[in-house]
């Protein structure tokens, strides 16, 4: 089976508050660029599917040079090819993104399985997989927690309210990956990292389309509560906390 994983790198989503500034429609900060965690889940699925079917997978990202973090990781995990669709860093219209990713995928010869992360942690759009599936006219399995090769198709597990659903789907199809028991990204082997650092990342010129969404304003959102601390030694803290809980939740155990 052939798979394509779309791997987006983002400013470290675990960066401390304030480390990312928002200025003139851009997000700036002295923060490392990392593969988005859900894109990591997608990459893991690509590795598994390629391994199990003795097939191969490729990795594609759209953006500026900052996208190399994820593409290198994909190469280290065995991607047969890595391609960056070269467009300026920063916000990009989601429909146009999906279109350009589709064109890049076609240029790579297409695939049986297209893998996206459910949501990238920068603009939190969470729509690229769906748009891609809609454009390509392929079925979309949202929120995949695990997938395995079953005959000519896939057996997948997807998140539903309060649990999950399992079943089979034919290829070609699009999966949006979520975190779950079967999607935790593995560590690349160092040998492969070293080799990957020598492999090329192909560049594909991005198309300039003026249409679609444009950022007209970006500002930090402030939500904060005037927190009160419960001080003292452990015992005092525990008692203070218990009191607080009793006040907030009428009718819980022990006195009150």
């Amino acid at each position: 089976m052939r798979a394509i994983a779309f791997v987006k790198s983002i400013l470290d989503p675990e960066a401390p508050p304030g480390a990312i500034r928002f200025d003139a429609g851009k997000a700036l900060g002295d923060v490392p660029q990392v593969l988005g965690p859900y894109e990591g889940n997608a990459l893991e699925l690509a590795v598994q599917i390629a391994e199990a079917s003795q097939g191969e997978f490729r990795a594609v990202a759209l953006g500026g040079p900052e996208q190399e973090a994820g593409l290198r990781k994909a190469l280290a995990l065995g991607a047969a090819q890595a391609m960056r669709v070269d467009v300026p860093s920063g916000f990009h219209d989601p429909l146009d993104t999906a279109r350009q990713l589709k064109a890049a995928a076609d240029a790579l010869g297409g695939a049986d399985v297209y893998l996206f992360g459910r949501q990238a942690g920068d603009w939190d759009q969470g729509v690229t997989a769906g748009l891609f599936a809609g454009l390509a006219g392929l079925p979309l399995v949202p929120l995949v927690q695990a997938a395995e090769v079953a005959g000519a198709g896939l057996k997948v597990r997807r998140e539903i309210a309060g649990g999950y659903e399992e079943g089979e789907i034919a290829v070609p199809c699009v999966l949006s990956a979520s975190n779950g028991p079967g999607t935790l990204l593995r560590l690349p082997k160092v040998k492969d990292v070293m080799l990957a650092n020598r492999k090329p990342i192909e560049l594909r010129a991005g198309a300039q389309s003026g249409a679609g969404f444009r950022v007209s304003d970006l500002k930090a959102s402030v939500t904060s509560r005037a927190g009160r601390r419960i001080e003292g030694d452990l015992k005092a803290q525990a008692e203070g906390l218990a009191q607080e809980l009793r006040r907030a939740i009428p009718g819980i155990g022990g006195g009150a």
């Binding site: 508050p17 002295d30 690349p188 082997k189 160092v190």
Partner: protein, 650 residues
């Protein structure tokens, strides 16, 4: 008449003994060759200066300074070694006399050395062997195995010594040796024969057969040496000679770009020294007795590790090492080096463990959970503390410490370390240290957001590639900063910047904060305080054993007016807190190492448990709390508390 004795008395065809002797030489030679063949496939490392190596050889092999640390069996071992040494010389003397015709077996030398001294030696040997057998089979300590070679070796030595005395006594009895009294043991036995009315012809027959038996037993024994743990007679000193004579890393920094294999998965990936080590182990169990992993029930015994590798080397030398050593074993080690410190023949366990970890981590991507996240954190964020929402400088908010700016000079650089910057408990220690430095009027600077992990957790996890990247970057940065001196509160950072970064061109003056503070107390830049509490001090492995800093932290505590009570295991014999080797980032099942150490600390009755490492600080805090004990503080916190309260009082 000059005192003497007839050599080969009563043994007519004694020349026949050269037949078994030739066999002995061949068998012995083949045994050595077989071992040598395995050693020779190892990686060669340059020896470097010989003086420190020879010094160590004299102390550890000649004076057996580590052996005698265990009083009873240590002295017994020395007695046995000296006894057999003397007996061996005695035998050479016989050879000189008979084969080279030198008449040395006479006169005072004969009486006082060949007779008296050798009897003393023989007797001492018998006593030592009895001590060994009694310990192994009477006391049954955990570290010693009780398989049949364990019995056979001392038992046959005992038989050799006893038959030796019997021969002597029979000769004295049959020849009425006028100088028999000098051989006091043989003489006493001879009178026993008299009392038993043993006939002279019978004595001659017994003597002759016993002589051959004694000879053949001794030869077989010698021939068996290269095939048994007694080989340590030769390999022990060799291992001592080849061992890393300084306290630097003991880990090599391979060129990963050109290495055919990353890390070790075959014997040929280990060094010659590593392979000699396998044959040097005496199976004494000292390493196992001090190993925190073993003590807390993890599937690692440093002794067994060596023996498993030895078995592997002898039975399937071309198979992967993974067959011999399981991952759980490999990753259980805290790299505390207690085993290496205890080993009488300077076997180096940690470099082997790390070499094998390197293979697992780099070739196969296997790093235990928790540690893997930490390593990934170093790669992505430059620190191993996943989830920390602090920045490199949060800890020093409001303290007024300067961040170094490129192009400006730097006198004292405070290398904070990731723990000091990101771990909430260690941040407090970092603040106390910064306050102390500021109160001395020191112009301290930090690297702030330019500081990055030294890579120590990655190196210990086997992720050498990431480590080397971190090391190179840090060395370059530090060379650019060119501080007059670097002070750090983390023994792991100290070990890196001071010792292990040398392989990457570093040559900085680096001191641990304990050293810096103790000097400041001596020179009066910090005034001494009085009226402190009862304290005990936990020596961090990377400070004490790795870097030999034992007194400085104690001087700081004394300067803070604290009253120190030592734990049973301290100084270079300290017991690990359980954080090393990447364990600070892993979830450890019960029983946990830190609980064992914390109990020892709490049992001293101290009100405060002091330490001088941010990782120990956390581990000991957890452990001591669970043991229901005292407060755990860094020495800097203790000193700052004492000093600042004096300042307020003044």
């Amino acid at each position: 008449m000059t005192p003497h004795r007839v050599v080969y008395w009563n043994i007519p065809g004694h020349a026949w003994m050269y037949l078994p002797f030739a066999i002995l030489v061949i068998v012995f030679g083949y045994g050595v060759y077989r071992r040598y063949r395995v050693w020779s496939i190892g990686q060669r490392r340059p020896l470097g200066p010989l003086r420190p190596r020879l010094g160590r050889l004299l102390r550890h092999a000649g004076l057996q300074s580590r052996v005698v640390k265990r009083r009873m069996q240590g002295y017994a071992h020395v007695a046995l070694a000296v006894a057999f040494g003397l007996l061996f010389i005695g035998t050479l003397v016989v050879m000189l006399n008979s084969d080279f015709g030198l008449p040395v077996m006479q006169g005072a030398f004969y009486l006082w050395f060949e007779s008296f001294t050798l009897d003393v030696a023989g007797l001492a040997g018998i006593i030592a062997l009895c001590v060994f057998l009694w310990r192994r089979y009477g006391l049954k300590p955990k570290g010693l195995s009780r398989q049949w070679p364990d019995f056979f070796v001392p038992f046959s030595l005992l038989v050799i010594l006893i038959t030796g005395f019997m021969l002597q006594s029979l000769r004295i009895y049959a020849t009425h040796d006028p100088w028999g009294g000098y051989s006091f043991v043989g003489y006493a036995l001879a009178s026993l024969w008299g009392a038993l009315h043993l006939g002279i012809p019978a004595a001659l027959v017994i003597h002759r057969s016993l002589w051959w038996f004694h000879l053949l037993l001794a030869f077989s024994f010698l021939a068996a040496i290269p095939y048994s743990k007694l080989f340590h007679l030769f390999t022990g000193p060799l291992a001592i000679f080849l061992s890393e004579p300084t306290r630097a890393s003991g880990l090599d920094s391979p060129n990963l770009e050109t290495a055919e294999r990353l890390g070790a998965n075959f014997l040929s990936d280990l060094t010659v020294k590593d392979l000699v080590d396998l044959d040097a182990c005496t199976e004494c169990g000292r390493c196992q007795d001090v190993c925190p992993a073993f003590a807390s029930g993890k599937p690692l015994s440093p002794k067994q590790l060596i023996l498993d590798l030895r078995e592997h080397a002898h039975t399937r030398p071309s198979e992967p090492l993974q067959l011999a050593i399981k991952d759980e074993t490999l990753f259980a080690c805290t790299t505390c080096r207690a085993c290496q410190e205890a080993c009488p023949v300077d076997i180096e366990h940690v470099p082997k463990i790390v070499a094998m970890r390197r293979f697992r981590a780099m070739e196969e991507g296997e790093i235990p959970a928790g540690l893997a996240e930490a390593v990934q954190g170093i790669e992505e964020r430059g620190h191993p503390f996943r989830g920390s929402q602090a920045s490199r400088t949060t800890w020093m908010d409001g303290l007024g410490i300067h961040e170094w700016e490129p192009g400006t000079p730097c006198d004292t650089l405070l290398w904070v370390g990731c723990a000091g910057a990101f771990d909430p408990r260690a941040q407090k220690a970092a603040r106390a240290l910064a306050n102390l430095l500021l109160s001395m009027g020191e112009d301290v600077q930090v690297l702030g957001r330019r500081e990055s992990c030294t890579g120590d957790p990655a190196r210990r996890a086997g992720q050498e590639y990431l480590y080397q990247i971190q090391a190179q970057q840090n060395v370059e940065l530090l060379q650019q900063v060119a501080p007059r001196r670097i002070v750090t509160m983390c023994p792991h950072c100290l070990q890196q910047i001071k010792n292990e970064y040398r392989d990457f061109g570093a040559d900085f003056e680096v001191v641990h904060h304990s050293e810096y503070l103790s000097t400041a107390l001596i020179t009066g830049r910090i005034s001494r305080a009085a009226g402190g509490k009862r304290v005990t001090y936990h020596d961090p492995c990377y400070l004490g054993r790795y870097n030999g800093v034992i007194d400085a932290p104690r001087e700081v505590l004394a300067g803070a007016g604290m009253d120190l009570t030592e734990m049973p295991r301290h100084g270079t014999d300290s017991f690990c807190c359980g954080a090393g080797g990447g364990w600070a980032f892993r979830e450890e099942g019960a029983p946990r190492v830190n609980r064992l150490r914390a109990k020892e600390a709490v049992d001293t009755g101290a009100e405060v448990v002091a330490t001088a490492c941010p990782f120990c600080l956390n581990m000991m805090s957890d452990g001591v709390r669970a043991e229901g004990g005292a407060e755990v503080q860094d020495i800097a916190e203790i000193l700052w508390e004492q000093v600042s309260s004096t300042l307020v009082k003044d």
